[in-house]
């Protein structure tokens, strides 16, 4: 086995394709030239693996139980997330969009796949593909219906299309029937799709104490 910096990061167990070979070769060349370190790649993979919708769910649950946090989150999404240790490893800002009785928010990136990765992790395939990106700004109600979400006509839909430095996160409405729930229990209700805005969170039946 090679030592230190030349240890391969990957030993593929399926036949590596052309693009995997390209990625590996490119990474190794850049490391040989001292432009990047293999350790940086490994570290960034760990960073990416640590970012999942569970983080966003905790932010939402905190906002539901703590009105001051909620206010700070709506004023500056990034700094409120940072209070919880959710660092933003890039230059993006975060605007948190509050769903209310009158307004339902939906997020999309029509031009590419901008997504609040530091707090939600990597986006699902459908978010990055043409049907969602083309249609979310054109016919959001039909798109939501495909996800099984029907927004009443008297509720305004706001579609936010990220094109630059701002990323968006939807703050879903807290469902009815959860007044006595703990923050941990609430976080379990919050789905990635609700934080994108293609889903809402159902009212909960009263729990037997």
């Amino acid at each position: 086995m090679h030592s230190h910096d030349h240890t391969p990061i990957n030993v593929p167990d399926v036949e590596p394709g052309y693009y995997e070979i390209m990625e590996t070769a490119m990474r190794e060349l850049l490391a040989e030239k001292g432009l990047i370190q293999p350790a940086e790649i490994r570290r960034q993979i760990e960073v990416l693996d640590s970012r999942t919708p569970q983080l966003g769910a905790k932010v939402v649950a905190r906002a539901w139980v703590d009105p001051d946090f909620r206010a700070r989150l709506l004023a500056n999404g990034r700094s409120a997330c940072e209070e919880l240790g959710i660092t933003f490893y890039d230059d993006t800002q975060l605007i948190v969009l509050e769903n209310t009785r009158d307004i339902h928010n939906l997020i999309v990136c029509t031009l590419c796949s901008c997504y609040p990765r530091p707090v939600l992790g990597l986006p699902p395939d459908w978010y990055k593909q043409k049907p969602y990106r083309a249609r979310a700004v054109r016919e959001p109600r039909n798109v939501l219906a495909e996800f099984g979400t029907v927004i009443p006509e008297d509720v305004e839909i706001r579609v936010s299309d990220s094109t630059a430095m701002v990323r968006y996160l939807v703050l879903p409405q807290r469902p009815n029937g959860t007044d006595t729930w703990s923050e941990e229990e609430l976080a379990l209700l919050v789905t990635r799709d609700a934080m994108i805005g293609v889903a809402t969170i159902e009212a909960q039946e009263r729990k037997v104490q």
Binding site: V11, M22, C112
Partner: protein
């Protein structure tokens, strides 16, 4: 607008409002190389060797046909190659040689 104008005036990724199919909600777990590719993009951006906007432009510049035929991360890595050559960070020859070397190494390791 003539057809040839339209191709340059509208970027292949500028699809907001165009007609499209039903959404297919199937998702896939990232393959390890895809995750490494994403990490590579982030690290290159941190260093400003290849920033995120350059990556976006690089993918657009692949053109409609390649964009339609390659998967998401395949497009990224192909775009990276072009941009790094253009910036004279890598040469086509050295990438091609290294790819041969990597390919041979993978073959040997899979035979172990």
């Amino acid at each position: 607008m003539t057809p040839s104008e339209a191709f340059v005036k509208r970027l292949p990724n500028d699809i907001g409002g165009l007609s499209a199919d039903r959404i297919d909600r199937a998702d896939h777990e990232l393959q390890p190389w895809e995750k490494r590719c994403h990490a590579l993009a982030d690290v290159l951006d941190f260093h400003k060797i290849l920033n995120t906007e350059e990556k976006r432009r690089g993918v657009e510049a692949l053109g409609t046909e390649i964009i339609g035929k390659l998967s998401y991360y395949e497009r990224w890595v192909a775009a990276f190659a072009n941009i790094l050559f253009q910036k004279q960070v890598l040469t086509p020859e050295e990438l091609a040689s290294k790819m041969d070397e990597v390919s041979a190494r993978f073959k040997r390791e899979s035979e172990l």
